[in-house]
């Protein structure tokens, strides 16, 4: 199955791309995708506790992905100002 992966902010700069498409075995979870991305993009500072969104919603990283999903790894946020 194909899913698209979005990178933002620090992750976008480190990955060198803002979006990529990956071909994964059926049933792959976001957590497994994370492990895979760590080896493809060695300079990406993805921690185990990174927040993950699928189709614009935060998800459980153990819930399987589906064909056509858009997965985003969310760097620590800083919306607005203090």
């Amino acid at each position: 199955m194909k899913v698209s992966v979005r990178f933002f902010a620090l992750y976008r700069e480190r990955a060198g791309v803002s979006q990529t498409e990956v071909d994964l075995p059926e049933g792959t979870t976001p957590k497994e995708l994370l492990t895979r991305l760590r080896s493809s993009y060695s300079s990406l500072p993805l921690s185990d506790s990174v927040l993950i969104a699928v189709n614009s919603e935060y998800v459980n990283p153990e819930a399987p992905l589906h064909e056509g999903d858009e997965v985003a790894f969310i760097p620590p946020v800083s919306g607005g100002e203090t």
Partner: protein, 144 residues
């Protein structure tokens, strides 16, 4: 009304959206860009959003405020792109019959915006730049 834009924010326009005859209290919060951060002289800032998700999360926060405080009149606008020092990056306006709820709900909304809305800020300062919130080692990139 909730939106993300690269255009300058107009606090009066956004405040007007929550002013109603039934509201005795209106609070407008402005987030503005600061020239000094962690000992660095900041030159300008860049904001980046995962736009559809950020808008969804802002709507979710407005729903939470509606449920907890019964406040219906909420307007949130966040700017993205390059901002000079002293510009407005965020406007949160709330109208409520009474002030107590409006203050509490504003504080709550701000805290939620800082924690769940996927918008990132990069400070460009003398000698380098850094994504704020990115506390991982090496988050600071020296100037070329």
């Amino acid at each position: 009304m909730i939106y993300i834009t690269s255009e300058p924010l107009n606090p009066q326009e956004i405040t007007d959206l929550v002013c109603k005859d039934s509201n005795g209290a209106v609070i407008t919060f402005l987030g503005t860009t600061r020239d000094f951060s962690e000992g660095r002289d900041v030159l300008y800032l860049e904001y980046e959003a995962y736009q559809p998700m950020a808008e969804n999360m802002l709507h979710q926060i407005a729903d939470e405020v509606r449920e907890r405080w019964g406040i219906e009149d909420i307007a949130i606008a966040h700017r993205v792109g390059k901002l000079e020092i002293g510009e407005i990056s965020l406007v949160v306006a709330m109208g409520s019959p009474h002030r107590k709820e409006a203050f509490e709900a504003s504080q709550y909304a701000m805290d939620r915006i800082k924690s769940i809305v996927p918008i990132w800020k990069k400070e460009v300062f003398k000698g380098g730049e850094a994504w704020i919130g990115g506390q991982e080692e090496g988050a600071t990139t020296p100037a070329p």
